[in-house]
Symmetry: C2
Subunit: 352 residues, 2 copies
């Protein structure tokens, strides 16, 4: 049909017809077969700086890139989703095996979503510092570090498709840095995003976990943090640092910051999730053993936050009976169940 | 509201309420204030190859990245939108001054949209060949080459916002190559996209114009091409090459290909649009003068296509009274008018 020929009233009728006539509405409302009704969508660059050459030419770089969608009747607080190391906004989009990721799942739950590409990554590749992109094959290492299995074997019961296409898409969801990662610069850009959009919830993954704490200390508009498998950058008050933790993946060092800064993290609810296949005792496989100390450090970190009057919680999914998750719980085969947990947290904290 | 609590019937009612209760439905149906009703959206990698290191590690790279949206009741043929040099899928999203780009405008016109990041660019940054990313300031050169004006002056009547924020967003819409541009590899990936999605219309810009001809010769599922300001890669049958055309931006060389290949381009409708501020006679400013010969070559190219029984047309917008367009007509201030022209072409060729 040529929608341009129809009046607004008829358009509304057509939309409702599409919604109610279609067999799709017999599915659950959150079902992937129902249409997404988007009030507004678009993209923009945020943060960054400008450098000038001797010839007066400029370069605008070091911004983050954001793609956002606002559903009709959005909830009060948007979700800002920040990818991890080697990844980009794709983290939250279609899963490797072709199901809906957090972008769609939470749009269906009436949240506005803002997906970030951090400075010098993906669509935000224009930086004020150059870089070298290597094409060194390294994917089996990531397969292990992301706890899909121990290459070439998948973990028994892992929540990851065994199809070759899924693994192909999974590997192609990585994209290189176009310049040095700079935690201050990245957290500045994310803080600038919250200045632009106002109060919202920050969802981080892996490497953005630590940078997410930095952003939250910079901007009180970050009203809560949901952090999936933070891997580094655990900040502690100077004088209260736990010892570094050794693992087959190297030592995990806590980061000391001024106590007044740390206290800012005690003002918001924070929840941290880790998946399965994390050993209790040291083991030789660095891909798994690194997560043993990251999980331990996260628990130590949450204890410290709470000792100072904060509200942080670490949920180790197998401990609540949710098994088989990789380093990417939000895109694993059970990601609707994982999303339900996050929805439960947001409801419990009256953030939805 | 917690949408998960509602039945499908109630959901439909809520959506309809949202649509009809809101004052927004008093606007025109294609208006940016009406909701987009998306049946399906997602992203995937397409094309590319795999290399293996001596240690058995692999690297999947050289794919294109695609973000797609399918509206409810889509038209027969999707639109596949391919950015130009130094750009990425952002080209088709929100304009530099915050209005809707072709992604939203054509979703509102009931077309499914597929936005590409070509191999080794933006979200498709993972390549099988490494590269060096330079941070050399060069934006005033692009300001001139993209015909916004002659830095620091805007062209009188240029269809580009004078706001500083718009220029800031415009410059930040560039992203570097993460490896060498490879026209064969890029057109292979785009051809693979058409293998996946079936018959569709290819929309190209600038540098993707020439690569778009290559893709169309590889894949008959490309049913038409709308090319905005193709800048190079004009293919002619061997033996029918026009002379190179000299300009202040350098010589534009035609590309010879086997006549049998060329003939494939005579089987589909092709329309080419160029904007304003292209000089009729040679001038010293390379930013403008380069387009003088590209426009001339495009006209020569269309004549050759048509002489061989094809259907190609070059529309120089000022000649039909549409003035002030830059190198990015689809995101200029008058982009709805420019989109109407494209809709008219698609209707005329029964492609909608």
């Amino acid at each position: 049909m040529n929608i341009k020929r129809h009046s607004p009233r008829i358009l509304a009728a057509l939309v409702c017809a599409a919604l109610s006539a279609s067999p799709l509405t017999h599915a659950a409302p959150g079902d992937a077969t129902n249409p997404l009704v988007i009030q507004e969508q678009g993209s923009f660059a945020i943060g960054g700086s400008v450098i000038q050459g001797p010839d007066g030419q400029t370069l605008h770089g070091d911004h983050a890139r954001v793609f956002y969608q606002v559903p009709v009747n959005p909830r009060k607080l948007p979700l800002v989703m920040w990818h991890g190391f080697g990844q980009f906004s794709k983290t939250w989009e279609t899963t490797a095996d072709g199901r809906e990721g957090y972008q769609n799942l939470f749009l269906r739950r009436q949240f506005a979503t803002y997906l970030i590409d951090q400075p010098r990554r993906g669509a935000a590749g224009r930086g004020t510092v150059g870089g070298t992109v290597s094409a060194t094959p390294d994917e089996q290492r990531w397969f292990n570090t992301f706890r899909v299995g121990v290459w070439p074997d998948y973990f028994p019961g892992v929540q990851f498709s065994r199809s070759r296409d899924a693994l192909d898409q999974y590997f192609r969801a990585m994209t290189p840095d176009t310049g040095p990662i700079d935690a201050k610069l990245a957290s500045d850009a994310v803080s600038a995003l919250f200045d632009k959009i106002g109060p919202a919830i920050l969802v981080t993954h892996s490497h953005s976990g630590g940078m997410g704490w930095l952003a939250a200390m910079k901007n009180p508009r970050i009203r809560a943090i949901v952090s999936y498998e933070p891997g580094s950058g655990f900040v502690f008050p100077e004088g209260e640092l736990p010892p570094a933790m050794a693992s087959a993946a190297g030592a995990l060092e806590p980061v000391g910051i001024p106590p007044a800064e740390f206290m800012k993290l005690t003002k918001i609810p924070i929840i941290i999730y880790y998946g399965d296949f994390i050993p209790k005792a040291p083991m030789a496989n660095p891909g798994q053993d690194g997560w043993r100390v990251r999980l331990a450090m996260a628990k130590r970190w949450a204890e410290t936050i709470n000792r100072h009057g904060g509200d942080a919680k670490v949920v180790h999914l197998p401990e609540i009976g949710i098994r088989g998750n990789t380093h990417f719980p939000f895109s694993d085969l059970n990601n609707v169940q994982v999303a339900d947990l996050m929805s439960g947290f947001l409801a419990e904290k009256h953030l939805d």
